[in-house]
Symmetry: C2
Subunit: 251 residues, 2 copies
């Protein structure tokens, strides 16, 4: 068991938002494992084996990475953003818990990254400047009733909400249903931001309101931020607004 497994967050997309520790791990690895689109962001190193896989195969990918490390390879398993946020780190420990007993003795290191939610927030202003939560809208892995319960709890208690996995071909209605639910809890004037492909060349940010928010604006690369009732809008230069959530909250 001389292998190693790094679980590496690449950050949101731009090379200069990737931590040097991640860059070093990716250069030192003998093997890279990950969703092909993410692996394409890692520059090639001589003698390094690459194992791209399809999306939505998280557990199989975790098994593969653990098997390589157990066989003595120095393996980097890559995620976009931060690997601990709706990404590969959790799948790895699920595989460890239910897999080969030897895997518990492996040298596993998570290299944190700049998450999509904080990269998006930075482009929008400071919408996450007060208490906030993150909810994945994917109901592949949990029942929709639970998503709805959490949206209800978060909005009712005044959290700003970051929605991950808002929409995909296989999950076309969830974001619309979330907006319908949130409109029953929050004023129509509540600020909403769509942040797509943050820090990438095709980045697109749109700031709107809950009343006007169109679920069709989102895609798989979009993070949706729902302000709290305290979140405020300031008109910035060139008519691009900023959103921020004040640090304080009145009684």
């Amino acid at each position: 068991m001389t292998g190693k497994l790094w679980i590496v967050g690449l950050g949101p997309g731009a090379a200069d938002l990737q931590a040097p520790r991640a860059t070093a791990a990716l250069a030192a690895a003998t093997d890279l494992v990950g969703y092909g689109t993410y692996l394409d962001r890692v520059p090639p190193h001589a003698g390094q084996a690459r194992h791209p896989s399809d999306n939505r195969e998280e557990l199989a990918r975790a098994h593969h990475a653990l098997s390589l490390a157990a066989a003595g390879r120095c393996t980097a398993l890559v995620s976009s953003g931060d690997a601990g946020v709706f990404a590969m780190a959790s799948a790895v420990w699920e595989a460890v818990e239910n897999g080969d007993a030897q895997w518990r003795r492996l040298d596993i290191e998570v290299v944190p990254g700049i998450s999509a939610m904080f990269a998006a927030a930075a482009r929008i202003g400071a919408p996450l400047g007060h208490d906030f939560c993150a909810i994945s809208l994917s109901d592949n892995l949990k029942p929709w009733d639970l998503v709805a319960k959490r949206l209800n709890a978060a909005a009712s208690a005044g959290f700003v909400v970051a929605l991950y996995n808002p929409l995909s071909r296989a999950r076309p209605w969830q974001l619309g249903a979330a907006f319908v639910l949130l409109r029953s809890l929050l004023p129509g004037s509540t600020h909403v931001a769509f942040a797509t492909a943050v820090s990438c060349p095709d980045e697109r940010i749109d700031i709107t309101t809950l009343e006007q928010a169109d679920p069709a604006r989102a895609d798989m690369r979009t993070l949706v931020l729902i302000g709290s009732m305290a979140t405020r809008r300031i008109e910035g230069p060139d008519s691009s607004p900023w959103l921020y959530s004040p640090r304080w909250c009145a009684a």
Copy 2:
């Protein structure tokens, strides 16, 4: 108005967890503004002016940084972790909204960073692998009733909870009160982690349970993570456990 204001997150502490974009902004700035302890983490550059300030003076510090930028200086305002998370970015827009009308035309850029919560999670395993929220326990800026309401909502709806600002000399009782409240909502066996000075030489991680959690373990540099009922513990090598929250949740 040719100045510039970068609001820069330095990451949790280790130099190799600071984004290259942050490093570049800090090198390009003519002026650095920030809490002295954070400024000390920035290597000196010739000809650069440094404006350290005391802690807890966020709004005055934001005014200072905006004034420098408005005077044509290229100013970097530094925060630890991510500047948008219970840090300086929100204070800047609060100052913009209520300050000199010209400040709205300034070139302001937030450079995101690796937040304390994700750096802590990476050291612990994948405790934030499922829906989660972040709550500041400081009641300087909001009433305790609201903190309690949010703890209640988060724990009842099955969020993992990251507690920022758990304890300070001026706020000695809040974390204890939070534990008492959470014990009325969650089993005593719920996993709890204390993560202090993550990625720094004096880093200290302790994993315990809600029943056993001692508020006195926390200090100003500690992040406290409260698992959900789904969060699991795996014994790792050298008897250091991992915590992870599974991606899925049963109905």
